[in-house]
Amino acid sequence: MDLSTLQREFAAALFVPDARPPIVILDRAPGRAARFAVYRNNTLTNLTAALLDVHPVVARLVGQEFFNHVAGHYAHAYPSLSGDVHDYGGHFAEYLEAYPAAAGLPWLADVARLEWAWHEAFHAAAPDSFDWSALSAVDPDAQGRLWFMPNPTLRLVQSPYPILHIWEVNQPDRSGDESVDLNEGSDRLVLVRGANHVIAIERVDAATYALLEACRLGRSIGEAVAAALAVDPTAESGAMLRNLIAAGYLVGFEGS
């Protein structure tokens, strides 16, 4: 059997629990099946561990047994496409959203989104600091055509459920009341990594969220402000921008 065929048959049998091990494996004691089972177990264990590493709150919410079960299905449905296991798990939230057994936990997928956003923020490039003097050198009439660069660590997550509160009461160092009222309302969250490598998670208003989202999508600052005003016509865009720059959410601009 050539190398390519052998590898395809081996991999195909790995993710199907009851599949017979490839017959190209020598059937020596303790047997082909027992030998192949080590790889099946290793692969699933490694992928589950990677998913757990990024999603400890989801795991705590559903319990280890359920988590392992869904992680096994996810591994089958969403192949890892990178040799770096830290890239694995980016579709877990959408998978949970459609996972029938999790239908009774409608906020679970958004908690997974928050955890993935945290993971991305943790590993993202460090930002430059904002150059105010360069901005003041730009003709005010031309400023609306600039693109404002979000902090490379900035991530946005929103949910109709109070996911930040859910996330907070499920942190390992948390003690005390763990109850969350799902009627507390929706969350619009900004994550950004500070100079001390700690990820700060802040709730923001709808206009701020719309502005940051537009910047993340590559819209000019004029368009981003328009998006914010469409959500909240009373928003004061100049003050909002200054605050976002001071908070380190926007770290530069291009297009002058």
Binding site: Q7, A34, F36, V38, T43, S82, G83, D84, H123, A124
Partner: protein
């Protein structure tokens, strides 16, 4: 290398030759400690991110220790094309940290772009040998430096693959000029699982190519030994290490521990044990120091 630098290298005590695998739970304690550790090794992929805390800590450690990069995801033995984005990320780490060694495994890990995240064994055939050597050539050329290739623990062997793993590995070193990272624990695990004599494997290694040794612990699962890197080095593995050092001379040696990571002193105790064996049996560089 200048004469005086050479003499310093020769006079280095045995513990300078022994390193530990650096893992996140030990970052703060190890930075604060005055540990008798000669060098550190990390999994390259743990530092593939663009920024943040992992790279911050790696910079701090690099200021204090020689560092090696050990990859688990290059998938050198796959029939897939070599992943260029993976090599690019590795190369940028190599340029930034100037590691002592850059290594990956004698294995495959992906099929049609799907990564399996395990170190899967190759069939030891002429076809696989030619393929693996071509890929090591490509990777070494891309990185602009020699790599080390490490033997893995294995649980299966394949029909029609009649070459011994040790002959395959020695041929890889001969044909590509790569160095070898000899995992003594993996030799023991595979020897038990496949019923060969572990010493025969060590005997077949071209001593000039062996640049590094790994030591780790395994678990027992029924009739098979499973490489978990989650325990102390077993007595049989210490014996095989002694055998290897007596034959190969002093080789930089690393203690690896990846699951159920213990308190730092446990790891340092294993390192001290390895250093004592190098001190007792090592020759070559340590002889000159005596």
């Amino acid at each position: 290398m200048s004469q005086s630098h050479l003499l310093q290298t020769l006079a280095a005590p045995a513990w300078r030759q022994v390193g530990i695998g650096l893992r996140a739970p030990h970052y703060r304690e190890l930075l604060a400690a005055e540990a008798r550790i000669g060098w550190l090794e990390v999994h390259s992929e743990n530092y593939f991110g663009a920024g943040g805390q992992p790279l911050y800590f790696l910079e701090r450690f690099r200021e204090r220790f020689p560092l090696s990069l050990h990859g688990v995801g290059l998938s050198l033995g796959s029939a897939d094309p070599l992943a260029r984005h993976h090599l690019l990320r590795l190369k940028s780490l190599v340029e930034r940290f100037e590691p002592r060694f850059v290594s990956d495994h004698l294995c495959w890990g992906s099929v049609d772009g799907r990564h399996l995240h395990d170190l899967l064994p190759l069939p030891y055939t002429e076809e696989a040998l030619a393929h693996f050597c071509e890929r090591v050539d490509q990777a070494q050329e891309f990185l602009g430096r020699r790599m080390l290739i490490e033997n893995v623990s294995s649980y299966v062997a394949f029909e029609g693959a009649d070459m011994h793993e040790w002959d395959f590995l020695a041929a890889v070193a001969r044909r590509t000029g790569c160095g070898l990272l000899l995992d003594v624990n993996n030799i023991h695990v595979s020897a038990v699982n496949h019923g060969f004599d572990a010493r025969r494997y060590v005997d077949a290694m071209p001593s000039e190519a062996v640049a590094e040794i790994h030591l780790a612990g395994f678990d027992v699962s029924g009739e098979l030994l499973v490489d978990t890197h989650g325990r102390k080095v077993a007595d049989e593995v210490w014996s095989l290490f002694r055998y290897a050092i007596a034959r190969l001379g002093t080789v930089p040696t690393l203690i690896e521990w990846d699951t159920d990571i213990p308190a730092l002193p446990v790891l340092l105790g294993e390192a001290a044990h390895a250093a004592a064996i190098l001190d007792e049996l090592g020759h070559g560089s340590l002889d000159a120091a005596a």
